[in-house]
């Protein structure tokens, strides 16, 4: 998929849970995307005049898309974190957001069954993967979602509508099982050691998923979150250390990596 750089139009912005938002962007000439790919969004709408602060675009997973003739609408689910996402959270319909994407190498669809483990904002990266796997073979993908509290979850209703097997864990027990989503993974892998694991979320969570999968001899792909300036391999800012030594670029060689290749202890 050849990425484009364009000014997208904000179609809708709505609250998603307690601290997150759903942003719908209309993009002319959007080429489509693969599950796990992302886009770079300007930190807030492009206003009536150029402002150089904050400067850098923010990487955001493409949650899903609706293609229409010529144009497409893509959805972004994001959590309000710092300045850029605070400004994005203040978008109004009709505002323009600069978008570069789709970018990166996404998830490789597994031949057999899959366990999708996502925590916090990582949930936004796995919906499309779940949708494609479920469409190919209903029930072949089991989705495990985790968050600190029910309000920190994103997109749960979409996963339910999708109909793929779904389990939820919250640390405070406000929804689903009380505890960590990695606990759900241990149980699920124990039941089905053949399944391939796909993880996205906080580094600690993904690292734990990698350990659990490795212990069971299961394959594990993880989608990393490193700070990025460009998103397409030129600033070299997003380097992730590899077990084999050296670095990979999260934006170009990832964001999805074979978990065994990553030197987890060296991540930011």
């Amino acid at each position: 998929m050849i990425p484009i750089r364009t000014l997208a139009e904000v179609v809708a912005l709505s609250a998603e849970g307690a601290s997150s938002y759903r942003l719908t962007l209309r993009i002319d000439g959007w080429p489509g995307f693969e599950p796990g790919q992302f886009a770079m969004l300007s930190p807030g709408p492009q206003g009536a005049a150029p402002r150089s602060d904050p400067l850098l675009p923010r990487p955001m997973a493409v949650y899903r898309e609706q293609r229409a003739k010529g144009a497409a609408e893509i959805e972004i689910l994001f959590k309000r974190h710092g300045r850029g996402t605070a400004l994005l959270a203040a978008c109004s319909p009709g505002d323009r957001v600069a978008v570069v994407g789709p970018l990166g190498r996404g998830f490789e669809l597994p031949a057999g069954r899959a366990l999708l483990v996502a925590g916090g904002t990582g949930i936004a990266s796995v919906y499309e993967l779940a949708a494609r796997l479920h469409a190919r073979a209903p029930g072949s993908a089991r989705v495990l979602l985790g968050a600190r509290s029910a309000g920190d979850l994103m997109g749960v209703a979409d996963f339910e509508t999708l109909g793929a097997p779904l389990e939820i864990a919250t640390e405070d027990g406000s929804l689903g099982t009380k505890g960590l989503v990695t606990a759900l993974l241990e149980v699920a892998l124990a039941r089905d050691a053949e399944a391939a694991v796909f993880a996205c979320g906080p580094t600690a969570m993904m690292r734990r998923c990698a350990e659990i999968a490795e212990a069971r001899g299961a394959a594990c792909s993880a989608s990393l979150e490193n700070p990025m300036a460009c998103g397409f391999g030129v600033c070299l800012g997003c380097a992730a250390p590899l077990r084999a030594g050296g670095f990979a670029l999260v934006c170009r060689d990832g964001p999805v990596f074979d978990a065994r290749a990553v030197a987890w202890e060296g991540l930011p």
């Binding site: 050849i2 990425p3 484009i4 750089r5 770079m40 300007s42 150029p50 150089s52 602060d53 904050p54 400067l55 850098l56 675009p57 600069a98 570069v100 490193n226 700070p227 990025m228 300036a229 460009c230 998103g231 397409f232 391999g233 030129v234 600033c235 070299l236 800012g237 997003c238 380097a239 992730a240 250390p241 050296g246 670095f247 060296g266 991540l267 930011p268």
Partner: protein, 318 residues
């Protein structure tokens, strides 16, 4: 939309955008800066490389290098910090793999940096014969191990030795890219002129530090990094103007260029050409927009040749 004249310079609305930089004829005065444009091909989806004057490739070392551990970048007010260190594919892979991948007619300037003077010279030598390399940019902002980690470009004597050595190693057009972390940029400019450089590039990023107050740590693993982006533009303009007053060498100006207006400021201060850097990250097609904007400005102001803008800043009081 734009024809080309005898010498290949673009003409549009009667504006001649062609300039010559250190003996390198350029279609227009807009290049892109080393380290912000990869090896060129990464920008193919966003920009036709033949629309811009040319680009400076990521700085090359003798051997491939791996660079610093993350975090390597941090956001700053109207700018960013980076501490990528020496990461690059190495000079040989550049010549073997990167250059051939570029479309014909793209002007490529190779940037070199190293930790020792003789290694600098060796990199220059390996790039000299190469037909696709229009010129060399000597990045003097690299820490010199022998002089206790200060940058080559921060000590006039060290800089002189470096430029002399590289000058001996190559006959290619040689631009020396100066460090802004100095008391007097004019002194460094004169050193380069004295040692036979063909031109100057300035400025490199400004040494800076950003702090994470929650973790009480520097944001960058390297502690210090280089500040780039619009924040440093007024500093860069000052240094270009000062260097212009000190030497005859042509200057390639950069630092925070985000628009044609910004680029024109550098031309007026005495830069023969400019480089777009950090802006490429947020706007991969930026350099093309700068070219169009310069053309429009010239047309609007009745400037027939963009070269007429170079150094045209009027500093006498009205």
């Amino acid at each position: 939309m734009s024809a080309t004249n005898a010498r290949g310079g673009e003409i549009c609305a009667d504006v001649d955008l062609q300039v010559e930089l250190a003996g390198i004829p350029l279609r227009n005065p807009v290049l892109t800066a080393s380290g912000t444009f990869g090896y060129g091909t990464e920008f193919a989806p966003f920009l036709d490389l033949r629309r811009i004057g040319g680009f400076v490739a990521k700085s090359l070392t003798l051997e491939p290098r791996r660079g610093n551990p993350p975090p390597r970048i941090a956001e700053a007010p109207s700018g960013m910090l980076n501490a990528i260190s020496l990461e690059n594919v190495g000079v040989d892979a550049f010549v073997r793999e990167k250059l051939p991948a570029l479309p014909e007619g793209v002007v490529v300037i190779a940037s070199i940096f190293e930790t020792e003077i003789d290694r600098y010279a060796e990199v220059a030598k390996r790039l000299s014969g190469v037909s696709r390399v229009a010129g060399l940019e000597l990045n003097a902002s690299c820490p010199h191990v022998k002089s206790g980690g200060i940058e080559f470009g921060q000590n006039p004597a060290v800089l002189a030795t470096l430029v002399r050595a590289v000058r001996r190693a190559t006959t290619a057009p040689l631009l020396v890219k100066l460090s802004p972390n100095v008391t007097d940029i004019r002194e460094m400019a004169r050193v380069c002129e004295g040692e036979g450089a063909d031109g100057l590039s300035l400025i490199n990023s400004v040494q800076a530090l950003e702090v994470d107050v929650e973790r009480r740590r520097p944001v960058l693993s390297n502690v210090l990094g280089g500040l780039s982006g619009p924040a440093i533009r007024p500093i860069a303009l000052r240094m270009v103007w000062q260097a212009r007053s000190a030497v005859k060498l042509p200057i390639c100006g950069m630092g925070g260029i985000a628009s044609a207006e910004d680029a024109i400021k550098f031309l007026l201060c005495g830069a023969t050409a400019v480089q777009v850097g950090t802006q490429n990250y947020l706007e991969p097609s930026a350099a093309g927009a700068v070219v169009d904007g310069i053309r429009a400005y010239c047309a609007r102001h009745g400037v027939r040749r963009v070269a007429d803008l170079v150094g045209a800043l009027e500093t006498k009081r009205p």
